[in-house]
Symmetry: C2
Subunit: 334 residues, 2 copies
Amino acid sequence: MSIRDVAARAGVSPATVSRVFTQPGAVAVGTRERVLAAAEEMHYAPHPVARSLARGRTGAIGIVVPDIANAFSAAITKAVQQEARRDGYALFVSGSDEHPQDEELWARAMAPQVDGLLLASPLMSDDALRELAELVPVVLANRLVDGIPAVVTDATEATAHAVEHLHALGHRRIVYLAGPTGSYSNEIRLSAYRATCELLGMKATELGPFQARFSSGVRAADLVLAGDATAVLAYDDEVAVGVVNRLSDRGVRVPADVSVVGFDDTSLAEMVTPRLTTVRLPAAAAGRQAVRMLLHVIGGRDGNLRTRLALPAELVVRASSGPVTGRERTSPTP
Amino acid sequence: MSIRDVAARAGVSPATVSRVFTQPGAVAVGTRERVLAAAEEMHYAPHPVARSLARGRTGAIGIVVPDIANAFSAAITKAVQQEARRDGYALFVSGSDEHPQDEELWARAMAPQVDGLLLASPLMSDDALRELAELVPVVLANRLVDGIPAVVTDATEATAHAVEHLHALGHRRIVYLAGPTGSYSNEIRLSAYRATCELLGMKATELGPFQARFSSGVRAADLVLAGDATAVLAYDDEVAVGVVNRLSDRGVRVPADVSVVGFDDTSLAEMVTPRLTTVRLPAAAAGRQAVRMLLHVIGGRDGNLRTRLALPAELVVRASSGPVTGRERTSPTP
DNA sequence: CTGTTAGCGCGTTCAC
DNA sequence: GTGAACGCGCTAACAG
């Protein structure tokens, strides 16, 4: 049942049927209704693949995230999928497992079958990114590269707030648990952390790099305890939760002995005990805006959309950060 | 740069170029290398859309999950994506937000642009499912419908183990927090719960239905406390964690006063305090097997793959379940 | 082993 | 407002 069958059934040419589905206004009302009726009866719908070939557009976009199962990636993906769907676009998803090479591989594999690509927190090189952007419209999320449109969640200010918050609680030795090297998010957080420490006259100490997962936090916790820090700024919520867990297991109380702050404010943050103080990143908004930007680049959109957008983050104070009381150079019970 | 350009450059016909990329063995070595060289120089790669149209297959499969951001859905999706990629298939993803109608809508939207569809814990009717399966190869995950291939995680036995576990700890009043009505997982859990209660001479009590999310658990906790149950079997980990949180907030200790058991064993289970006793569902294995089955149905696979697979679940005892001590008809401090 | 011939199903000029 | 003709890029059936 192709366009020809419908045409025959309705007594018109295939071209007219095509018009009915692409520019209904250009067809006489009577003809249109006759065609629609025929299509309805035959359960006809335009074949997406044939349409793609003829139009040169696929009606699909793709997204590559560091880890599909990671709560932050999932939050972005969810928003992206919803927004894409609103415009009739389907969404391809691929996870890179934080491997720059896989990332590039999957991105290139997707490129020819989509109208545009969304890269979330990509780790590949600027050059690789630019080459990719030659092949297909690309929008970056949480990464900045000259010449490529991007949406970033800007945690600079909020990170400063986090450090100030801890400082105000009396903390003078705060350690930052670094995320993946080359990650834009990590660089922003790290530099804001350093700058604020300097501003407040504290020494900046970093541990890592760590992969953005729970087990990294567990491992990091022992490293933290080996030092004299009273507060931890972890790369993301998962790491932070790992830290809290291990600390608790070792008898160190949070926040009485050590304060812990995360990043992202994924749903996890409110589910753990104590509830996590964290820097909230607008994942859903970023995902939505990235799609808008991508569809704009792909074309068809009117109005001038900005090609670079920074969405501010925000410190959310909960229960994992508190005043300094316990751990003053006294080593914890192991 | 199409197949014709490469053909011209290599001095062969388009058909030969096509063969080089589809059945290299059928082309003389010399010719093949000449073609490959030409293709290389011109950065030629077969156009996926044109290929799809000619072959009648898209090289993509789709999955519809209840909620992209849900940890269990994400775990399945991740495994599915990895397995699909191994066979060169791209993956479309769509979330239904647990709305049966959206579910059907997105599934139908995907149908014409994929070679097969994976439906995870679908809520739509059997008939809707069968109609869909007429349109495109379908494999179900965690749902059983006559005539449609399926992979299910079978929690029957493990649910019994969970109830026995609680019974052995001295619990005699266990309440089950039901998940979405019409959900296969919920039905399995519920009936196994009832059967085991009966077997052990306990009254089965249910609350719900609840949506599979944290906030549902929070709400459910108060309902639980209004009754006299000493143990809770929650539809899934998220709900269980919601229960634990609210219980803690109300001064009820877990597991000293009330024991809580979840389902899924998502990463969440090990991240919360106390660590969650839960029935582990083999999400990744189910995802992988579902893909294998789908690709088998789509065709090309040899060997006889079973069309229905049940993967056993397993009770994982952690810290949220313990002996009855506290709550013996004494109402908790609000 | 290779080339020729036909489509796959639709969109889009052009005339009418 | 409508139809005929051509092309999107590739694969498949048939010759040779």
